[in-house]
């Protein structure tokens, strides 16, 4: 068997794949955060909570309504998005003229409420969710066994991320969005319904988190704390990448996932801190972030 640093190549490959899976979640979440921050000027602390809601949504749709994975993967993000509309219309709306920090504090409060409610209802032990029949098993690539579901997660997330990039950068709708981010008053003066766009943007951002949660459901323990655990790492990812570029967010998310995975093989003790260490390094070398433009 071939080895690298005394560790079998197999272990490396499987950790890289695991890292890519985690990186896909980082990418989707940081993408949503960036889009929301761009237009709403709000750092959505509840973003991890919406990810958790997506996973629980998928689980509940199966447990209570008997709807299978594929329905859940479409419905859960829609439900999460609808919930986002409600939050934006009733609460966030009042904060746009205030300092950034209030948006962060409000969404932090929301995250605590939802996390607390789910903890009361479901405990912290975690709910299991089956991998759908069509994606069970693994494919033999000759040099490694590729679990089908994990491959599907990476591909599906990449497609969704690239689609988002395409819509924002290359379509008319995206042009409105970019104009609104640049100068909301002027965009409104040109006849674009900016408040509605703001609502839909928030809904889309959190739906993206909900989709990530649905994708994650079969490979993680679905528990109420999963949201806050991931959001802090995603914040670090956002600091590293900068919120200026969509492709930058995707790339940063994926590569940090892989680096984290590799650290798990090479030096497991540091696997939980490596992302933060990289953040410190980036702050030293490129304070604006790898793809950021300092305002």
């Amino acid at each position: 068997m071939t080895e690298l640093f005394g560790i079998p190549i197999q272990a490396f490959l499987s950790q890289i794949l695991l890292g890519l899976v985690n990186g896909s979640f980082y990418a989707m979440l940081s993408l949503g955060l960036a889009v929301i921050f761009g237009l709403l000027n709000i750092v959505n602390f509840a973003h991890g909570t919406f990810y958790m809601l997506g996973a629980f949504g998928a689980w509940m749709l199966l447990a209570y309504a008997g709807l299978n994975y594929w329905f859940a993967l479409v419905l859960a993000p829609l439900l999460v998005g609808a919930f986002g509309v409600l939050i934006e219309k009733t609460m966030l709306r009042w904060l746009y003229k205030l300092d950034h920090l209030y948006g962060l504090l409000l969404t932090f409060g929301l995250a605590l409420i939802l996390e607390g409610l789910f903890r009361q209802q479901f405990g912290v032990s975690g709910q299991p969710y089956q991998v759908p029949e069509a994606l069970k098993g693994a494919t033999n690539l000759g040099f490694m066994f590729l679990p089908n579901y994990r491959a599907w997660v990476v591909i599906a997330s990449l497609v969704v991320c690239l689609l988002t990039w395409y819509v924002i950068e290359k379509t008319k709708l995206g042009a409105y969005l970019r104009a609104g981010t640049e100068n909301p008053q002027l965009t409104q003066a040109f006849g674009v319904n900016v408040p509605r766009m703001v609502t839909l943007t928030y809904a889309f951002g959190v739906a993206l988190a909900g989709f990530a949660g649905g994708l994650a459901a079969p490979i993680i323990q679905i528990n109420p704390l999963m949201g806050s655990n991931i959001i802090i790492i995603v914040f670090a990812v956002v600091v590293i990448g900068g919120m200026g570029s969509i492709l930058g967010s995707i790339l940063t998310g994926l590569s940090l996932g892989v680096i984290e995975g590799l650290t798990k093989v090479l030096y497991p003790e540091a696997s939980s801190t490596v992302v933060f260490l990289i953040m410190a390094l980036v702050l030293l070398v490129r304070p604006a972030g790898l793809f950021g433009k300092e305002k």
Binding site: L105, L106, G109, L112, E115, I232, V239, T273, M279, P287
Partner: protein, 305 residues
């Protein structure tokens, strides 16, 4: 200091001296530690305009270092507390240097991320006892002759420490240095264009706030005789934000009032366990939507208006 303020502070001082007659010393000491912690935090958010979302790292680090110094290394109480404060100041210097390289809301995210990193480090380091925490921290004697094992004596020592912390914060805010901090809060670009080295001022305020939070943390570890991961968890960072927000950001007494309310609330709601998180979250949402000035800010506005 205007006369009305002097009377108010004198009344509070007497209240603090008499408080053990009506309430449990442990509860009061907890409230005092959090009052100092929140006031130190307020020095940043209220008077410099920096939102740190990772202040738990200073509370907890000082608690661990102080506890380790006194329990394992056998240091005298006063040196153990100083060691805790020094550790927090040092962490504050390192984290502050990195965090002020980014502006605005990124600052909150960076401090949160670093505090999470410290959480993982403390979880893995052998001296902290991991999930079990550092248990059985002795209080020993202050300066070699004041026996701290008596809760009432301990209360007055904690009261004195808190007062010293408050005095430092008060002096900082009312010094020329404090005026520059306020200028940075109001308009950073302008302060910069007036020739102030904004980054240095921010860093100094950050280190000061970290050290004072460390003082609160080290004292708290001695009060409870244990130190656990709860103090470095991001929930704790959120709690201190809540205390300050609820009491009134940028007011001198606000954080103390907020700390008292939150600690009392936690005492009464302890039996509700999981619901405490929900209620905490709800208070956050309410404060942000309808009560941004906080209790003290609201009262001050009424008196003026």
């Amino acid at each position: 200091m205007p006369r009305s303020h002097r009377i108010l502070y004198a009344a509070l001082l007497i209240l603090g001296l008499l408080a053990p007659l009506v309430a449990y010393p442990i509860f009061l000491m907890k409230a005092l530690c959090f009052a100092l912690f929140a006031s130190a935090f307020n020095l940043l958010i209220g008077f410099t305009g920096l939102l740190s979302f990772g202040h738990a790292m200073f509370l907890g680090s000082a608690g661990y270092i102080c506890g380790h110094a006194i329990k394992v290394l056998g240091w005298p109480t006063e040196f153990a507390i100083l060691a805790g404060v020094a550790a927090s100041a040092l962490i504050g210097y390192v984290v502050g240097t990195l965090a002020i390289r980014r502006q605005g809301i990124y600052f909150a995210m960076i401090t949160l991320a670093f505090s999470q990193m410290l959480y993982f480090i403390f979880l893995q380091m052998p001296f902290t006892g991991g999930e079990d925490g550092l248990q059985g921290i002795p209080r020993r004697h202050l300066f070699g002759f004041i026996d701290l094992d008596d809760d009432l004596t301990m209360y007055y020592v904690v009261f004195a420490i808190t007062l010293a912390g408050f005095w430092m914060i008060y002096r900082t805010i009312h010094s020329p240095f404090g005026q520059v901090l306020k200028a940075i809060r109001e308009n950073e670009a302008r302060a910069l264009s007036l020739g102030y080295d904004v980054d240095r001022y921010k860093l100094l305020a950050f280190v000061l706030s970290a050290a004072l939070s460390g003082l609160a943390g080290a004292t708290k570890a001695l009060v409870f005789k244990f130190e656990t991961l709860t103090d470095v968890h991001w929930h704790m960072s959120g709690e201190v934000v809540l205390m300050t927000l609820l009491g009134g950001m940028g007011t001198i007494l606000g954080p103390t009032v907020g700390a008292l309310i939150v600690v009392t609330l936690q005492n009464y709601l302890a039996s509700l366990e999981g619901w405490v998180t929900v209620i905490t979250g709800a208070i956050f949402v309410l404060c942000v939507l309808a009560f941004r000035r906080g209790v003290v800010g609201e009262i001050a506005a009424r008196i003026k208006g």
